[in-house]
Subunit: 283 residues, 4 copies
């Protein structure tokens, strides 16, 4: 189905729903999904509406001009996305390959609506895998004293390919503020704990030491504060005294794969809205 | 907050959202929640919209007359519910008291937006509990050959009290078709299995014999086919070889309480829509 | 069934299992459950073994004298518990009554193998509930500047009744170090977060502010460090952007009840062993 | 670690634990894991004990002769497995490749302690994947009227390679009774429902039609009755009215992968014991 998806955030006011619904009806939109959320405490209105373009009488090239007056009236932040335009996703990875294997297979299976023009790594380890799926694989070394240069090389590649979304699939380097500021709400990381517990290094070891009964994983947008960005998805799995740290790491891999894949999928389907360092998921 | 909630089911057509949004905006509705669902395969549109009545300029006594033309145009099945009118809920119970304890405490805590004018049982066992919460408790014996008479007595009590919802909180009698036909989508049962597995009698014993690794509970509207009505909520819990049947029954009680309570709460908040023997939960 | 349960912790050494098994077989024990765990990294052996006393030929009054030589040989920490001796459990509660309701009903249903000689509260609120279940209810006010005196009064009551286990069922006061030191691994608290996330005050508010996708509850033994004792049980439930803080609190209550009840049950059945500020649950 | 694992099932009798512990201690076994279970209603004793062979003074070639007298005395069914002997696992697959991708990557990551000498399929689809992981891939067509011949070819391959375990990774053919009788408790299937609900064909479609709120997956040993063998593992995931059948299939794939992988791992680590058409998992 060839659809358009409109995402809106604005102060909540009477008449909002009517204004949007009338606009879409004027051009004969066949709505296939519509979700909205009012955050009463912040007086905020959030909406995702997706419609079939088959009978839509407004040329999407003219959408912005037609919609902007309504957006202005209600002080909307908005964007519209077309299903016909597949987003471009880059994957950054280090040595652990489980999330990469998972994402590439999901992509091949048609679960992820995107193109993957490139994978960037600081190691050669995953090249054969990338080759198998036919994705160009770039190795950019990140020496301890050469991070700025490495990031410059990464950013050049990302820009060349017009990348929309960057997925850190267990990429073991902390990105600079410059980097993350360049891609707001466009870098998704998977952290191997139930944040905010065990942010930072070696979360499985610390979970083991604390004696928790469940371990978790968290996918989030990367901001300049480490492991503090808006959480997109989390999940947990039960462990017991029989599980040593290696077993936690093994069980955690399954969590990491699933939690990252859900976040990536929702982002690619324009189901994630951010406010107050939190996400609304219209799934 | 003093609100009205409108529930709509109808064939999906362009202009539906606009028609409803415009109607509400005409009377200055302040929408606080809105959910909708399109079932594309059945071409069905379902909606729940709740608005604050504070600034609403249409007298709710006149709502029906004002809205019916729109309903007719789109062939809607609809109803409107006012938060100011607390539904009346009757609880039927036999000897197991865990669901009753749970519902009465939730009611006292303000979780369940309803009045409970009466509890009906075929046993004296739960009378002290009902007394503690100040709910009238009626015992109607159900002899093997006197079910029709017992149901007549039950129905008379239910009618006298203008009951809107009947909750079978582990009521161990099968209701007649006459009875269930009288209260369509207004009788909620809790079945102690993950339906459709283990419908009928002794589900925990059969789950134990089959060696399942999870046990479940299912809340559903009662229809004339046993354990076959629209499912409102289900949940499961993990068991192991260490759990004998008694332990399954004990663990299952926690499931039954939670799964029934969620279904009752959603029903009372007008969050459940039924079609094709299934439910949509706008929660 | 009339059983004895032996709990053992000691350095792991060859011959341990044989020594214990031979001892029990010598006196004709009919073992009904046996669990053991080796923590290889700490070279620790932990065991729980329960046997039917029907055919046991050693008088349990003489157990200690008979077993101590083996215990000495293997440097065991050990204790033996008899099912015939019901532990005495005190419940401390403030105003929130949901955990208390839950524990008292489970106790009445036979789920918790203990006597409850008293409930202590700093408020009158739960007296009617305690009366309903026939449990003596003591109110000890805890003024801001009178905590030491209040704890003295509490401790006197607990000593008088020979209390084995103290359950803080959402008791909103922090106990002094003196108090907790007096009852090592004998005070169980329920904290309304997934520890170590959101330790301390107002966890639901902070979970809401952080935008987590699951909320949790944690039952743990109380130590002198707030919310840092050995974790006995944890669980989580999914939330969404539709849930405000009040809804988190409401959903959390169900978690708190279940997570606390499991911990209490396991403790009362002598299924919990503690080492390195962690628990092993032989459930 | 170089270990031996002993699995025992027998009637429960006093002295069993002592006899086994003494036997192992006699030969200086360093026990690293020990699990046992008494099924009181069936008077059955089940045990799994694993020990480090480093200091073990009995040559494992002589184990059987040394242990058999004890086995006879207690009427044991038993087997011993050596970690040094990697089991041989064959995978049968049709067109859906998600379980195969998952198993091969886990194998490569070291999660599955086995060799995979071959993959057998009735289609060419997964050949490139098998090649990538360096596993020989055999296509044996299964025409509607040539099943017996196809199975003969399959069995010949399996025998040639001395296969211990056969995993049906979404293999879409029903095996004959002859075939399954040849490999008792050695063929693991993944069924895409929460058995016993929706056994047989098209479980996701039927789950969708019934309106369940959770979908499941079940891994089980294959017996001659379809979808009726001993269940090894099950899990579920929540769905909603927003999920159509395609979405159920997609979500279900994640379940299928995890539930099958757990079963395979446990089997390969000799953690599964079967009795009364049920499994005990010593995990």
């Amino acid at each position: 189905m060839n659809t358009a998806t409109l995402l809106i955030s604005c102060p909540d006011r009477k008449g909002l729903s009517a204004a949007i619904a009338n606009f879409l009806f004027t051009y004969n939109a066949n709505i296939v999904h519509s979700d909205q959320h009012q955050d009463i405490s912040e007086n905020l209105f959030l909406m995702r509406v997706e419609w079939d373009l088959t009978d839509f009488t407004l040329d999407m090239a003219a959408f912005s001009a037609a919609f902007q007056p309504i957006a202005d009236r209600f002080q909307m932040q908005w964007k519209v996305a077309l299903s016909a335009r597949r987003p471009k996703m880059a994957i950054l990875v280090s040595r652990y390959d489980h999330c990469l294997v998972d994402l590439l297979h999901r992509h091949q299976s048609g679960e992820l609506h995107c193109d993957i023009p490139l994978i960037i790594s600081n190691h050669e380890d995953c090249r054969a895998l990338a080759d198998f799926y036919g994705i160009p694989y770039h190795v950019i070394d990140v020496p301890r004293d050469g991070k700025a240069q490495a990031e410059a090389a990464q950013r050049q590649l990302l820009e060349e390919h017009g990348v929309d979304l960057i997925v850190l699939a267990r990429y073991m380097q902390v990105l600079s503020h410059d980097f993350t500021a360049r891609y707001p709400q466009r870098v998704i990381n998977i952290h191997h704990s139930f944040l905010p517990a065990f942010d930072g290094a070696k979360p499985y070891h610390r979970a083991f030491a604390r004696g928790v009964k469940l371990i978790g994983a968290t996918s989030h947008y990367v901001t300049e504060v480490l492991d503090d960005g808006p959480i997109i998805e989390q999940d947990v799995i039960r462990i017991s005294h029989r599980d040593d740290v290696e077993e936690l790491i093994r069980k955690g891999r399954d969590l990491e794969k699933m939690v990252l894949a859900r976040a990536v999928k929702w982002h690619l389907e324009h189901r994630v809205l951010v406010y107050s360092n939190k996400t609304v998921i219209f799934a």
